[in-house]
């Protein structure tokens, strides 16, 4: 499985996870909020009745018949005519100073009456809320008397908790199924892309090989023509074009060399390599009138193939030589256990991200490059599990490599 495919699966599963979590969070949140709302409605009904349903209350039952119909499930929740018979609750009334307590109603089995009074005392300074997990309470005043009503909502909350657990289990199961499906879909989605990439690389590899001999033959025949008839504008133009083709072929030849299975892996002195590359290009920098400023920490090494490191530093130098207008900066340092290599130059480009420079055959505006140099850099850095980014900030093209 390649990295892009892994990324696709991870992103897809993350999106599914977020969507499912949000959906289930909304469903369960609304469910619990409605349960709390129902409980508050019941405590409010009790508050209107000074803390107790009248045992003979039948008005609600009369309404039940009217609300029924062919598609009706009948009144549910607080509207149920069974409410005054099925509710588990108690109400304790306190005098204004809270000294004397009297049980107004007691229809509950979980606690004794005296325990209920103690419980209510603990809630007297509150207003409304949940207590001891599944009990809802309301504190209210009527005619100078403070009432504390506590109702048991355990039976009503049980379906809510069941839905919550089933939702969580369902989400986990859905993610597992989605992951299994993505394994198949990812393969199907990425197989053609991988195939296209493989074909592109093969084409480039073959084209590179197939171009080399014709260029050599054309070059040789041009020489022969010049020897026979003397050089003219046509042969000179042919040579110029051959030189361009030769440069392109050299670049194409480098594609994939760092992916070779026989690549060497050793401690490469990157500081030395970069210094050597900059020193080696001193004349070329000077001929373009470029000021080179290097801040290179000594003795920085990376585990890599020396040849690829050589190519990478070479490409960075070539890129600066092509695009810099006045000044080129090279920085190499160790930071938080990572090797940080940064090149900057005043390439006069619009500000913003410039990550497209790493795409094969992609060049920035007004560039006459082949669009290959920095794609090697990216491939090399990727092969070392590093990161590379490019951006333009205040007219400075900044390329940053983390290894």
């Amino acid at each position: 499985m390649n990295k892009a495919e892994k990324k696709f699966r991870l992103y897809a599963i993350l999106v599914i996870f977020v969507l499912l979590t949000v959906l289930l969070a909304v469903i369960n949140g609304v469910n619990f909020t409605m349960a709390a709302g129902d409980a508050d409605e019941i405590t409010q009904m009790l508050a209107e009745r000074q803390g107790a349903f009248d045992q003979g209350e039948t008005a609600r039952a009369e309404g039940f018949a009217e609300k029924g119909g062919p598609f009706s499930m009948g009144p549910l929740g607080p509207e149920s005519p069974e409410m005054n018979k099925s509710l588990r609750y108690f109400t304790v009334a306190f005098t204004e100073k809270g000294e004397n307590a009297e049980t107004v109603a007691f229809h509950i089995s979980a606690v004794s009456e005296s325990e209920a009074v103690e419980w209510a005392k603990g809630l007297i300074k509150e207003k409304t809320g949940w207590t001891r997990g599944s009990y809802r309470y309301r504190v209210y005043k009527r005619s100078g008397i403070t009432y504390v009503t506590v109702i048991d909502q355990g039976r009503e909350l049980l379906p809510c908790f069941r839905i919550l657990i089933i939702s969580a289990a369902g989400e986990i199961l859905s993610l597992i199924i989605a992951w299994i499906m993505l394994l198949g879909i990812g393969r199907k989605v990425y197989a053609p892309l991988e195939e296209a990439d493989r074909k592109q690389k093969n084409f480039i590899k073959n084209a590179n090989k197939e171009f080399r001999v014709p260029i050599t033959v054309i070059s040789g025949n041009t020489e022969l023509a010049e020897k026979q008839y003397g050089p003219d504008d046509r042969t000179r133009s042919t040579r110029r074009q051959l030189a361009k083709l030769g440069e392109l072929v050299e670049k194409l030849g480098k594609i994939g060399i760092f992916e070779a299975s026989d690549a060497i892996s050793e401690n490469v002195p990157l500081s030395e390599y970069l210094n050597a590359a900059i020193d080696g290009a001193a004349e070329r920098f000077a001929s373009r009138g470029l000021d080179v400023r290097a801040d290179i920490e000594p003795d920085i090494t990376v585990t890599a193939d020396p040849e690829t490191m050589d190519r990478m530093t070479g490409e960075l130098i070539d890129n600066s030589l092509k695009f810099a207008l006045h000044t080129v900066y090279f920085t190499l340092k160790q930071e938080n256990g990572y090797v940080l290599l940064e090149t900057k130059n005043d390439a006069s480009l619009p500000d913003g991200s410039a990550d497209q420079v790493f795409d094969r055959f992609t060049t920035l505006e007004n560039s006459d490059g082949t669009g290959l140099g920095l794609s090697y850099v990216k491939d090399i850095v990727k092969s070392l599990s590093g990161r590379v980014s490019a951006r333009v900030e205040n007219g400075m093209f900044i390329l940053r490599i983390t290894l």
Binding site: R212, G220, G246, E272, A276
Partner: protein, 198 residues
């Protein structure tokens, strides 16, 4: 001077034969490995140039035969020369990568022939390169380009193209020969030979 030039590309053979003959002497051409082996076994050449994509018999086997006959051989490659190519057991006297012009290929042939007849030995530290023998003393073979890179380092001169690959391969070959001499880049000084553990 007699040159054997082998490649499956007939246009290439014809073109370079026309370029070689007036300047170098006689050029014999061949377009597959079997032909090359037969010709080498029966004729004498000052140098052999073979395409690495030669059909039927590969360039490694031909290089082995040429080395055994002490005939200088240059292998034409389809990409840059890398340390793996330079570490081959049957190492040619040099590699030259397509595309090239007559100056480059003449230069490569002349360079190899000049080295073969030079009788020169380059000594630095415990390392000795037998230039005419194309080998490190008591060690593996080296190409003409590797020798040029080593000489450039010793004399403090600029590298030829693809010199870095030669630095890596030379260091590996010095290690293989049990030598302590290495080529290293010294900040502010460039490439120098150093003795390990110094």
């Amino acid at each position: 001077m007699r040159i054997l030039f082998a490649s499956p590309e007939r246009d290439l053979l014809e073109c370079f034969k026309s370029l070689f003959d007036p300047d170098l002497g006689e050029t014999v051409t061949a377009f597959d490995g079997t032909q090359v082996l037969y010709i080498i076994a029966n004729e004498q050449f000052d140098a052999v140039i073979i395409d690495s994509a030669l059909p039927r018999i590969g360039y490694r086997e031909i290089t082995e035969k040429a080395n055994a006959k002490n005939t200088p051989i240059i292998v034409l490659t389809y990409g840059p020369v890398n340390p793996h190519m330079l570490s081959e057991e049957n190492l040619p006297n040099d590699y030259l990568s397509f595309p090239f012009n007559s100056e480059m290929i003449f230069g490569a042939v002349k360079n190899v022939l000049a080295k073969k007849s030079s009788g020169e030995v380059i000594r630095v530290g415990d390392a000795e390169i037998d230039v005419s023998g194309f080998c490190i003393k008591n060690g593996p073979r080296v190409t003409a380009t590797e020798t040029d890179v080593f000489r450039a380092v010793v004399e403090g001169k600029a590298f030829p193209v693809d010199g870095r690959a030669c630095v890596s391969s030379l260091n590996a070959k010095f290690a293989q020969a049990g030598l302590k001499t290495r080529i290293k880049y010294m900040t502010g000084k460039g490439f120098e030979t150093v003795t390990e553990n110094e």
